[in-house]
């Protein structure tokens, strides 16, 4: 029998690590290093003048202030509204619960541009809330962010709540605690890690929101993300953009550290819960929460979605499919260079490429991180790699796009004119999702199964094929679906990199909104519906493959 008992040798690990390391080195580390270099290095020496100059501007601080304010407001609201939602959708049993859970998830899988367009369809003149004059306001942006992130809170907290052992709460009640007091003293502390974890994720998503803010905020409201884009594409001021990217990297690193810290606490807490879920029929005392959640879901989620669909069917001539038939044109006054359908085709092609790239790199990383080698040195290396691979986890798409723009568009690596840049950037955005989908499943595989296979004579490759792969099967499908949907909706990085003659669907939608004319707005709405149906369809198929384990949620 082989001396390593079916475990990978050091050489095996190195070989497996080399592809993801090379990929991340070339497409993540190098662009990020270039950004920092542009911001801080001039003529080969450290130069803080650009940094201090940008940071001295009042405009910069206004933008940072707005970014933090909108992220804080969005997070606070998402948590406040999401907690009752988590209770209603995960602790109560009622007909249609599965459908309600799916409905709540829809916004999260919608491309950010579509979210922006859906809210604008409500707020522009002629929309359901057009009279509020909220178009382009702070409130509109925050509402859209909450719309988008409500599902994160509901699902993260809910899936934990569903598995929470009910007995401590019952004990507290028997010991004289009122329902509210038992919740506050027993349930809430048990949920705190999940809430913190959800909140830090939501904060990250809000702070890096790009498409939604760009579409809804108009020119008046800028976040660090949109400002990087504006400085790069409108003012061609790459130094300022670089400094702002560094600021954004700091924001992301901060929220990631917070998320990692709370996730660790959550994993500690997870050990304490029973396997079975505990839910009960709706009782009279639950009715206020049910009513509250119904209003939130109805107002926050159903209204914008309905408005998007309804308004896409409204043409200057009345109700009809006019906007959809126009998708075969380039828009009124030739707003576009290609038809919307051609852009959709481009999107699908790019999504295929982005998916296989992200899957290749993601599976290798997840495989590596799930191993528990016996040698202490190898263990330590895996620990370091773990931290390293998680770095791009929350990288803002805009930073990726900007980094590619200033790194890969000239020798030695000139990919600017080649069409591979967009799928690679999208893959980079999707890889963290692949890892987060696969890693919990792989880590849940009992090491004894692998040992048993090894004792029976399997080499590492056979062990993977015989033990890990069957368990992974469904999750692989889920990860493929996530990649595909992420790629279809990706806007932040793509907006920097897509060539004018080969735009993707989100890019086309954004251009249509920017061009005057009701015909173009109608087409943007119709194209958004098409894009939304594509991504939700892909996710719906993939979700059916989800292995039901709480750890793999989100």
């Amino acid at each position: 029998m082989d001396r390593n008992g079916g475990r990978l040798t050091a050489a095996g690990y190195a070989l497996t690590a080399i592809v993801p390391l090379a990929f991340l080195g070339l497409f993540f580390a190098w662009p990020v290093a270039s950004i920092i270099g542009r911001g801080f290095v001039a003529d080969g020496a450290l130069d803080l003048s650009a940094f201090s100059e940008v940071m001295a501007r009042e405009r910069t601080w206004r933008i940072i202030g707005f970014t933090v304010a909108q992220a804080t407001a969005g997070t606070a609201l998402a948590v406040l509204l999401g907690l009752p939602g988590a209770y209603v959708l995960y602790r109560l049993r009622f007909p249609g619960r599965t459908a309600a859970r799916a409905l709540v998830t829809v916004p999260f899988v919608l491309p950010t541009v579509v979210v922006g367009v859906a809210f604008r369809s409500l707020l522009v003149e002629g929309g359901a809330f057009g009279s509020l004059g909220a178009d382009g306001t702070f409130g509109a942006v925050v509402a859209a962010l909450v719309f988008f992130n409500y599902a994160v809170v509901v699902r993260t907290v809910g899936s934990m709540w569903a598995h929470l052992d009910p007995r401590p709460e019952q004990t507290a009640r028997a010991l004289g605690a009122s329902p509210w007091r038992a919740f506050r003293e027993v349930t809430l502390p048990a949920l705190t890690p999940a809430i913190a974890s959800a909140a830090s994720l939501v904060f990250l998503f809000c702070a890096t929101a790009f498409g939604t803010v760009l579409v809804l905020g108009g020119l008046g409201y800028r976040t660090v993300e949109t400002e990087i884009w504006v400085q790069t594409t409108q003012f061609l001021d790459l130094r300022t953009a670089a400094v702002l990217s560094v600021v954004q990297l700091g924001v992301v690193a901060g929220s990631l550290a917070l998320a990692a810290w709370s996730r660790r606490r959550r994993e500690v807490a997870l050990r304490l819960r029973a396997g079975a879920t505990d839910d009960h029929l709706v009782r009279r005392c639950d009715l206020p929460l049910v009513a509250f959640t119904t209003v939130v879901v109805g107002g926050l989620i159903v209204t914008p979605l309905t408005s998007l669909v309804l308004r896409s069917l409204r043409t200057p001539e009345g109700w009809g499919l006019g906007n959809y038939t126009n998708l075969a044109t380039t828009g009124s006054r030739d707003a576009l260079e290609v038809t919307v359908w051609r852009a959709a085709l481009t999107s699908l092609r790019i999504a295929v490429d982005a998916t296989w790239i992200a899957m290749t790199v993601g599976v290798l990383i997840a495989f590596l991180l799930s191993r528990r080698p016996r040698q202490p040195a190898a263990r330590r290396t895996i620990g370091v790699l773990d931290g390293l691979f998680m770095l791009p986890l929350g990288v803002s798409a805009v930073t990726v796009g900007f980094g590619f723009l200033i790194t890969l568009n000239r020798p030695p690596v000139d990919l600017r004119s080649s069409i591979v840049l967009v799928p690679i950037a999208q893959a980079l955005v999707a890889i963290p999702l692949v890892i987060r989908t696969l890693l919990p499943v792989l880590r849940a595989v009992d090491q004894r199964l692998r040992d048993a296979a090894a004792v029976l004579g399997a080499n590492p490759r056979w062990v993977f094929t015989a033990v890990d792969l069957p368990v992974l099967g469904r999750s692989l499908g889920l990860a493929v679906g996530f990649c595909f949907a992420v790629s279809l909706g990706e806007f932040g990085a793509t907006s920097f990199l897509s060539r004018p003659d080969r735009p993707t669907l989100p890019v086309v939608i954004f251009r249509l909104i920017g061009h005057p004319g009701t015909g173009n707005l109608g087409m943007a709405l119709a194209a958004s519906v098409v894009l939304a149906m594509l991504t939700t369809g892909v996710i719906a198929v993939a979700e059916r493959l989800r292995v039901h384990s709480a750890g793999a949620d989100l």
Binding site: D165, R167, P168, Q170, T171, A172, R173, A174, L175, G176, A177, S178, P179, R181, A182, E185, V186, P189, A190, A269, L272, A274, R283
Partner: protein, 323 residues
């Protein structure tokens, strides 16, 4: 009427009836064990008494007052589960004093009572220990102290020792019984283990498939189960007309392995099928005329020959009579 009075209680979950028209009384200061196989509805009955399940029909009363509409936290009943009831984010002291805090007892008094209870359950000085560092047995001691701290009117114990291993369980059940009688606690003790039920209870109520079959003091239940199904739940495995065993006073006799003893002078004859070692001796499987296959104990250390004939005698104290 004082104590607990359950009348015609029904609890239904959709189409299944978990508790089917059960009536049960517990007098103040006594312990009633609710004994039955798993899934028979005994835990649901306990949860209904606690107020954790809504009643489909019937009533639960304490001290003559109907408890309908009285929420769990106002019933002043204690609860003890087999595991998982301790608050993981509080230390031992924080767990034990929880009920006292809810009752608004001041800090000094709480500390005093916590110390007193930890002393009672044999964990004096454990106040500041995190609960996650305790062994299973220690956790259940803390759980008992926690549920007893606010001096509940009625203590509801749901399989409190089932998660512990056998040796520990046998030791703890004795201690638990002593603590309950020392504190004169009125208690409903749900279990599927008859040894536990007989050790702790003044009255044992036998339950199967949602219905209460019989309630009696241990001794009487053991000697005179109401019918064959109760006898079977108590562990009696073979049934025969009492006269065929030379017993009288009832129509039927129920036997368990301890009821028959290999004895050269015994009145019954059977063929030895096989034998095995069990706790405290040898158990022989014998095919007895008119009785079929039964098991018997032998006081001898060397087993009888397989295929040979043995004579058996009936141990009257280990036989139940009914009908």
């Amino acid at each position: 009427m004082s104590g607990l009075a359950v009348r015609d209680l029904v609890v239904r979950f959709g189409a299944t009836t978990a508790v089917d028209t059960v009536s049960l009384d517990i007098e103040l200061g006594t312990v009633v064990a609710l004994l039955g196989p798993s899934g028979c509805g005994k835990s649901t009955l306990l949860r209904a008494v606690a107020g954790l399940e809504s009643l489909t029909a019937g009533s639960v009363a304490w001290g003559g007052a109907d408890l309908a509409g009285l929420p769990v936290h106002r019933r002043r009943f204690g609860l003890m589960f087999q595991d998982g009831q301790l608050f993981p984010h509080r230390d031992v002291g924080g767990n034990v004093e929880f009920g006292l805090r809810m009752a608004g007892v001041d800090r000094a008094e709480r500390a005093e009572r916590v110390a007193e209870l930890l002393e009672l359950v044999g964990l004096a000085g454990y106040e500041r220990r995190p609960v996650s560092t305790l062994s299973g047995g220690e956790q259940q001691r803390v759980a008992l102290a926690q549920s007893l701290a606010p001096r509940p009117e009625l203590l509801l114990l749901d399989e409190p020792l089932s998660s512990l291993d056998r040796t520990l369980r046998e030791r703890l059940v004795g201690e638990l019984s002593a603590i309950l009688s020392k504190t004169r606690t009125t208690a409903l003790y749900v279990t599927h283990d008859h040894d536990e039920a007989f050790t702790v209870a003044d009255q044992v109520a036998v339950m199967a498939a949602g219905r209460l079959l019989q309630t009696a003091p241990p001794q009487r239940l053991w000697r005179h189960p109401a019918d064959r199904s109760v006898a079977a739940i108590l562990g009696y495995r073979w049934f025969a007309p009492a006269t065929s065993l030379g017993l009288d006073g009832a129509a039927m006799a129920a036997l368990r392995p301890e009821s028959l003893v290999v004895d050269a002078e015994g009145p019954l004859t059977g063929r030895v099928l096989d034998h095995r070692f069990t706790r405290g001796g040898i158990t022989v499987r014998v095919d007895v005329d008119n009785l079929g296959e039964v098991e018997a104990r032998t006081p001898h250390l060397d087993p009888p020959t397989v295929g040979g004939l043995v004579r058996l005698r009936v141990e009257p104290a280990a036989v139940a009579l009914f009908g």
